[in-house]
């Protein structure tokens, strides 16, 4: 249990070159097959009315491949690399492109309730007539029973449907059905001025509003070759770390609460509340929504508030450590979290699962270090990695990250440059594109954007949950039904970020 995290080395802080390359079907397939063989990781897969894009990361760095879609068909990546399946089901629903060979052709985001089909295609379709119910994967066996849960859950959480198949108390299969909170964000962003698109992106997943705004701002700035003022660069990281701490504290409490250990939950609730109140005082919004904008930040930090933040960090640290000590010293609690909800290193690597889900199962990846975007190139970063892959390990990653974020906040406040916090945006001639990747509390948030002047032509945000949701289904297998909430909280995937 008391596993030591590996102290990660810092990689080359120079930003990696990002390239986009138009490829033919053969190259596309070859790359998909390479992913299937484990040579590289799928970062994102998204479409436009006439093409599909695949972002991948391998020894050569991160790059983007584009394939023209002829006759609304293209060779399926999911057929060769399973983590792409749900992404392709979504592409099929939204654009009507047929991924040839896709092993699972059930709709994903389209529940048959939209007034039209293929809302993002060049030519939208008529809504499919009575698509009927959703066919869950068949389960056969003696003594099995099914437990349907959702979309409206018992707690104050987002909607989704979980279909459990249980043998007595033991879950033999969980299948999730998502898409309930699909809001059409990609469609709304098309043709939107940058400022409106920034508001939309900040509402993809409320708990990661800073991370999304941050990734979007970086994507826009890379498209327009704009450098935000140094003070803004530091303030962004400050907000990102505050967001991380607030969310991790919430999860720490919630996980313990689901193991009926209310004491830690109550104290975490207080700490989280103090962080949010401080954010409100410092930046004018508890979740720091709309505070990061392309060009810089919308809210500057006064000297008085900077001092208050420092005092906050100093007061939180010892109280937080006390809670960690309680967790470490509570066998009844550890009994619930240790060896519960196991995810193998192999699966995490195959799905390139980010955040605590990946780092709890040995995947040593953190976008802050890997892409070393400023100011993280100057702050130094210790990335905690555990191997156990259980609820306990996912929690311990968070606990270590809270410590690290507290340290980072102190450093940021000490090193905070003076000056402007926002540079003016000037649209460029012709079309320009850029990507941004930022480490949110949940994992790496990826944003692709293409601009014409200061109008968004196409924007695709990819939530880390896409590669975590499928692993939750694996994690809960062979656990008792009553441990599902615990497993679920330890993942804390975003529904909204996934459903878009």
């Amino acid at each position: 249990m008391a596993q030591r995290p590996r102290t990660a080395r810092r990689s080359d802080p120079r930003p990696r070159a990002r390239r986009r390359r138009a490829v033919d079907a053969k190259t596309w397939i070859a790359n998909a097959e390479a992913l299937g063989r484990g040579e590289g990781e799928l970062v994102a897969l998204f479409a436009e009315p006439d093409r599909v894009h695949m972002a991948l990361r391998d020894v050569a760095g991160t790059r983007l491949l584009t394939l023209a879609v002829a006759d609304r068909r293209y060779p399926s990546v999911g057929a060769r690399h399973a983590p792409a399946i749900r992404l392709e089901r979504a592409i099929r629903d939204l654009f009507g492109h047929e991924p040839e060979g896709l092993p699972d052709t059930r709709p994903w985001l389209d529940h048959g309730a939209w007034p039209l089909a293929h809302p993002l295609a060049a030519k939208r379709g008529l809504p499919a007539k009575s698509r009927g119910g959703y066919e869950f994967l068949p389960v056969e066996g003696e003594g099995l029973h099914q437990i349907p849960v959702g979309p409206v859950h018992a707690g104050i959480i987002e909607p989704g449907h979980f279909r459990f198949t249980a043998n007595g108390e033991t879950v033999v299969r969980l299948e999730a059905r998502l898409g309930y909170v699909h809001k059409g964000i990609e469609w709304l962003m098309q043709g939107a001025p940058i400022a409106r698109a920034a508001m939309l992106i900040g509402r993809v997943s409320g708990d990661s509003t800073v991370a999304y705004a941050y990734a979007f701002a970086r994507a826009v700035e890379s498209a327009l070759r704009l450098t935000p003022p140094p003070r803004a660069v530091y303030l962004r990281a400050l907000m990102a770390e505050l967001e991380r701490i607030a969310n991790h504290l919430g999860d720490f409490g919630a996980i313990c609460n689901d193991a009926t250990y209310v004491l830690i939950h109550a104290h975490c609730g207080v700490l989280r509340e103090q962080v949010l109140a401080a954010c409100d005082a410092a930046f004018g919004h508890r979740l720091m929504r709309d505070c990061i904008v392309p060009g810089g930040v919308a809210a500057d930090l006064s000297a008085a508030e900077a001092r208050r933040l420092k005092a906050l960090v100093d007061s939180i640290a010892p109280r937080f450590r006390e809670l960690v000590a309680i967790y470490d010293d509570a066998p009844s609690l550890l009994d619930r979290t240790v060896t519960t909800g196991l995810v193998s290193a192999e699966l995490v690597r195959r799905f390139a699962a980010g955040g605590y889900v990946g780092r709890a199962s040995g995947r040593d990846f953190d976008a802050r270090r890997e892409h070393a975007y400023p100011p993280y190139d100057k702050l130094g970063l210790e990335v905690p990695v555990f191997e156990a892959g259980d609820v306990d390990a996912r929690l311990r990653v968070r606990l270590r990250e809270i410590e690290e974020s507290l340290r980072l906040i102190r450093r940021i406040l000490d090193a905070l440059p003076r000056g402007e916090v926002r540079a003016a945006l000037r649209g460029a001639k012709g079309e320009r594109e850029g990507v941004g990747m930022v480490e949110g509390f949940r994992g790496d948030v990826f944003v692709y954007v293409r601009l014409s002047g200061t109008t968004v032509v196409r924007c695709h945000p990819r939530d880390p949950s896409w590669f975590q949701w499928p692993l939750l289904e694996v994690a809960v297998k062979d656990n008792i039904v009553a441990d599902f909430p615990l497993c679920n909280k330890s993942f804390n995937c975003s529904y909204s970020g996934h459903d878009l």
Binding site: E158, W187, H267
Partner: protein, 182 residues
């Protein structure tokens, strides 16, 4: 752990700490709310939260009502797991087409008298998502709404204020039920 428990015993309660002005407002609100809920519903008001398409920001702040700082439950207000136990539906999000049926069913499953509170800009007007092919629009486009609480998301204190306003109106109408407070 024992030392922490002991400290908690001798320390002032954390409930409704925070910035001064706000703290006073919360305290005052909390008292009104307690009084009202007792008059109207015999010291119990059960709330069912329904996310009908939110970005989860509103959920975070509704959740916060349960933390020791706001501690809704000490006022006899509590969140229920089932709509069948609820007096109030707190609904968030720009009701997506994919959630419409679930929202309607939840509403039908809630016994009368019941109140519906739309929480957040999305629930009030569709917010930034208004006009999307995937969204029906504000909550009022699907079920009757008794009270709107604006904000993106509204702060917990604002949600608390909203609940006070709701109970206030209900008390004036002597709990005549749905429709009476609109």
């Amino acid at each position: 752990m024992r030392s922490l428990l002991f400290k908690s015993l001798v320390k002032d309660p954390v409930t409704i700490a925070g910035p001064e002005a706000e703290a006073n407002a919360t305290q005052e609100l909390a008292r009104t709310l307690e009084d009202l809920s007792r008059r109207v519903l015999g010291r119990s008001l059960v709330i069912r939260e329904v996310d009908a398409g939110s970005c989860n920001g509103c959920e975070l702040e509704i959740h916060a009502l349960n933390n020791p700082v706001y501690d809704l439950e000490r006022l006899g207000l509590k969140f229920a797991a089932s709509p069948r136990h609820a007096d109030v539906l707190l609904v968030t999000g720009p009701v997506t087409h994919n959630m419409r049926v679930a929202l309607e069913r939840t509403w039908k499953a809630t016994p009368d008298p019941k109140w519906v509170v739309a929480v957040g800009d999305c629930a009030c007007s569709g917010g930034v998502f208004a006009g999307s092919y995937a969204c029906v629009g504000p909550v009022s486009a699907v079920i009757p709404v008794d009270l709107h609480i604006a904000g993106c998301p509204p702060r917990p204190i604002e949600i608390l204020k909203g609940l006070v306003a709701l109970l206030d109106a209900a008390a004036r109408n002597n709990g005549a039920g749905k429709g009476a407070v609109r």
